[in-house]
Symmetry: C2
Subunit: 139 residues, 2 copies
């Protein structure tokens, strides 16, 4: 049988020490609309119907029963990496915005295909990237 | 200044112990086209111009110089979580496909909004999810 289709990354997850601090960072500083929030986690709209999940480190390791079924446990540590897509025209505005917010731009990369990336870190040291088209054959 | 727009999750990253094994799992078993591969990492097309990155655990912790700039180091451990979007019509085919491939479905969840999720694990125990629309307000 052929492998059924996959229609994109829907969710990526980061594990954070202080959920209030991280929600403030992603919702206010980075402008991502908050979709839900409880003591264990938060979900933010990352654009194009994709979702950034923030879990309290150590708080999601156990399976969790819900009325609709069991959500398997997971947990992570370290400085994880994820990237958001931005339009090329938004590169300079993002650079200004991060600087205005006091967020250090740790690096900038120009890719062979013409895309550009801004790197910075979230409050837990996760390595975040804002990347314009021209980075991957599919982007 | 208003926060500039973000246009979706572009990349999510997993850290793996055996890159050959993980590339075989995602490229062959899950049918994701391989975009690039080197000794340190692999990138796979996750659909809708999003990309799944696989890094050899411990191999990406240092900054890496490239002609276009420095790629900051990152690394992670634990059983991370990410979700792929699938169409509702592909839920049953995915369930069959995973079973045929000998991949245990660890859980199924029905969400209040009508979406459904299949959970299973990759060779490193990362918690993967295939989710149909009706899970989030934006999906």
């Amino acid at each position: 049988m052929a492998v059924p289709p996959i229609d994109g990354v829907l969710e990526t997850a980061l594990y954070v020490r202080d959920l209030d601090r991280s929600v403030a960072f992603f919702a206010e500083t980075l402008g991502r609309p908050l979709l839900m929030r409880n003591a264990r986690m938060a979900a933010l709209d990352a654009g194009r119907r994709s979702v950034l999940l923030l879990f309290v480190a150590g708080g999601s390791a156990d399976d969790m029963a819900t009325p609709g079924g069991i959500i398997p446990g997971h947990d992570g540590s370290g400085r994880l990496h994820m990237a958001f897509a931005i339009a090329a025209v938004d590169y300079d505005p993002w650079q200004c915005h991060l600087t205005e917010q006091g967020i250090a731009i740790t690096s900038e990369v120009r890719w062979p295909g013409g895309g550009r990336s801004l790197y910075f870190t979230d409050p837990d040291g996760h390595v975040l990237e804002l990347a314009t088209p021209g980075l991957w054959p599919v982007y």
